[in-house]
Subunit: 71 residues, 6 copies
């Protein structure tokens, strides 16, 4: 009975990316824990850039300075 | 001091249904745990159908196929 | 697809009370939202009294002063 | 590696107040736990007044009766 | 800045499985959202079988009846 | 009606530090949002080092390599 919550900054995540996240995370849980995917729920929550802080700063401010979270 | 979070898919939950959820869940906690309702908080969070996954699929896709969560 | 998280202070909640909480909350969601109980998950999380704060004080300190959350 | 989630009712919290919350909470964690602020994340989630219940009532109803959460 | 919370029933998840979950989920987020893994946090929370309810029943009761969540 | 959840790695946080966290965070919310502290709840959740991942690695592994989260 896994339940997974994914919180990410709201920066243009597409419907296809969300579907890939749900499929990918469900697959990880199914493979590693041998869980029935029909008992596995994944919830994605996008967070506005003003509402996420990191290092004491709003992410919206960090983005204005050109700082991204990209690899 | 209970705190309850209810996550449901966003599918037309009305204000009256939310009020009934809050009253009903508070009542369950008050009756079973003998808690002061004035120290009991209930938060409802509606989740878009693209953001909830079940069985590795977006609920929005499942709904397009006619699969519901109704009893 | 509801998911419910119940956080309560760890003060001797019995297995029977937990079962009653799960049944009661699931019933509220089933009745009000017409949800399939087989898609309804309820998770209870007990919180140590040192780890819950209210009014700026640890609940463990409030309990030592004789302040309870009972109705 | 602290992660903090702040849930507040949606009642006109400004961008400046959010920045102050993020800075203030990060500072509390840094001072008390000696944590690297660059490993400290703070997420603010505003909750609509219809979605927060207290004492078995929707906060939106309490506000209509003139009951606030102000100090 | 993703944050992921994985809740699973406490049924003998090993340290190696936890490491695999963390690596697998971080990899899914990195690949699909192009996120810096150093800004990606994953938290696993195991839930006692008495504390997880499904279909209105404690999972501990379901397990006693021989019902598992295995695929 | 704020509710705050603080998740930190379980690394010897003392009762006094928890009390200071609760008082400090409640004070930040009271000062910035003008909230009644008696409606402000703070919950601390300590997470075992095997259960927190960062950069795709368990924190327990990072600590064995001498990597800390101290400032």
């Amino acid at each position: 009975m896994p339940y997974v919550k994914i919180e990410v900054t709201r920066e243009g995540v597409t419907r296809q990316q969300k579907q890939a996240l749900i499929a990918g995370v469900t697959n990880v849980l199914t493979e590693i824990l041998n869980k029935d995917p029909n008992l596995t729920h994944v919830v994605i929550q996008e967070i506005d850039l003003d509402d996420w802080g990191y290092g004491g700063e709003q992410v919206s401010v960090l983005r204005e300075r050109g700082i991204t979270a990209n690899k």
